[in-house]
Amino acid sequence: MDARIGIRNTKSVLFKSVIIFLAFVITIPLIIVLLYIIKQGVMQVNWHFLTNIPAPVGEAGGGISNALLGSFIIVVMSSIIAIPVGVLAGIYLSENAGTRLAYYSGLCVDILQGVPSIVVGIAVYFWVVKPLGTFSAVSGSIALSIMMLPIVIRSTEQTLLLLPDTLKEAALSLGVPYHRVILKVIVPCGFAGILSGIMLSVARIIGETAPLLFTAFGNPYLSTAITKPMETLPHLIYTYATSPYDDWHNLAWGASFILLMFVLLLNIFTKLITRKWNIQL
């Protein structure tokens, strides 16, 4: 009897140790990747690197200003498209839960969340790139805004569902019209949650490469024309990582470092906001 209890307890302790080991060991690859990128990238980054376009093969120096500017423009344009649509659709889903349209839209959000980004790239290629006849920053923004939508919608919906109904009822009973109740009472109350969803979606799309291969394409020069091809950070990393030149690899390491820092900071910042709100995304 005693012996069996001993075995069972040992088993239990053993199991716990294995679980703890497995759970923590998986952070090692992440740490290795982060440290490696930081080690390789931090040496590259200086003012010259941030303000110059890539140098041709064989020339020293060069920077990634074209990709920084391009990523910025494309992310801003995607946000301009995706935030209004996403927030309003999220409001609809939370306000009209149970209707048929809400069911099918919700289904579409689930589908969009699972669609591989490269498939979105193909679709946008035929919607925008082919009719316009050229790769363009606009098409890249449209593809990325489709990637943003599900995150913005779900976070808006979840946040608004957490707000008490009495808030809305109080405003309505004062005779405030419906649209003002939503825009002046409900949305401001859930602002932190919606904002964190937007920030997470930006963090996600800024590193997205696959849909940009057939849409924004890439451009070795500084460009602000949104109907022309434009370079982005992830695309620059892809092109230069697969090139055979060490100088270009270094450029890509520097770009990876900046991209990684940006994504990590956005994520940590979002965490700080959501901690107050306890939002599940």
């Binding site: 088993k11 035929f126 019209p177």
Partner: protein, 304 residues
């Protein structure tokens, strides 16, 4: 006399209707996007469906120069990388779910681990690919030359390793929240009968959450199937089929997503391009079905 207040409320009512209409339009936009993607993919893959037929899916040769197209190498490549990655990832995602869901649910250590796992998902896949190409591939190459297979380095094995790490967060975060939802009376009942912690986990928690954990794994699988950039950089991109199992597992290959990424902008005639889009269509259907099944199972759980 004109009643100013009445006018004001009329205009407000007008705005109210407009606002409600805008909300409806925005959610219809979602339907339009999804149906639009589907229709575009079907329309554009029509030429290849017509000229290649259903045999396309198991045709073994992919040779665009001679106009021969078969999707078999990519289907196999995708399945092999995804399932290898899945099998590697399962013990870790279960361990994380059990640890964060049962052993250590609150406190700084639990939060730290949870946030770190979420950061794994936040790192862009191109960065995993770049890192893998310069750090992991040489390591894999040494391993391969030690065990006596052709030391390519790049290939199915290297991509599966990176993919495994990338997909863990999806199953783990789902599993954690499900295990936390196991009603404590169930666990307390088992403890009262004298069960050890391991026995409670094995015979109460895991059976209770089994289908939910499975759904989390499905979501991971959906990610793995569609993952493009990391795999494109690491898989070696050959469309030839390996002859031995060892070669298939360690040698270079191609997945559906990676062949689209590599060849889409180079495809110079209709059938070639269309064959690539048909791959996209297959990928779309598979990931959508897997995701919807996963979501369905999970929503069943959370509604209870």
């Amino acid at each position: 006399m004109k009643n100013k207040r009445l006018d004001l409320s009329y205009s407000q009512m007008k705005w109210e209707t407009i606002f409600k209409r805008i909300l409806v339009i925005m959610s219809v936009v979602l339907l339009v996007i999804v149906i639009g993607i589907l229709i575009t993919l079907i329309m554009e893959s029509m030429p290849s469906i017509k000229s290649l037929g259903i045999e396309y899916l198991w045709g073994k040769v992919w040779d665009p120069v001679n106009n021969v197209y078969g999707a078999y190498p990519f289907l196999m490549g995708t399945l092999l990388t995804s399932f290898t990655a899945l099998i590697i990832s399962i013990p870790f995602s279960y361990a994380i779910s059990i640890y964060l869901g049962e052993y250590n649910t609150t406190g700084w250590l639990s939060n730290l681990l949870k946030n770190t796992i979420e950061l794994i998902a936040a790192v862009p896949s191109i960065i995993y690919g770049f890192w893998g190409l310069f750090v992991l591939v040489p390591i894999v190459r040494t391993i391969e030359s030690k065990i006596g297979v052709a030391p390519y380095g790049v290939g199915i094995f290297a991509s599966s390793l990176v993919l495994a790490v990338m997909i863990i967060p999806y199953a783990a975060s789902m599993g954690t929240s499900l295990i936390r939802m196991v009603p404590s009376p169930l666990k307390e009942g088992a403890y009262a009968l004298g069960a050890t912690r391991f026995e409670v986990i094995r015979s109460v928690i895991l059976p209770f959450t089994r289908s939910g954990l499975f759904a989390g794994i499905l979501l991971s699988l959906g990610r793995a199937l569609g993952e493009t950039m990391a795999v494109t950089l690491l898989i070696g991109n050959t469309s030839a089929i390996a002859h031995t199992i060892k070669d298939a597992f360690f040698g270079p290959g191609n997945t559906m997503a990676s062949v689209i990424a590599n060849e889409f902008t180079e495809a110079d005639h209709t059938v070639y391009l269309s064959a690539l889009i048909e791959l996209g269509l297959v990928l779309f259907f598979v990931t959508v079905i897997i995701n919807l099944i996963g979501k369905r199972i999970i929503s069943k759980y959370t509604n209870k």
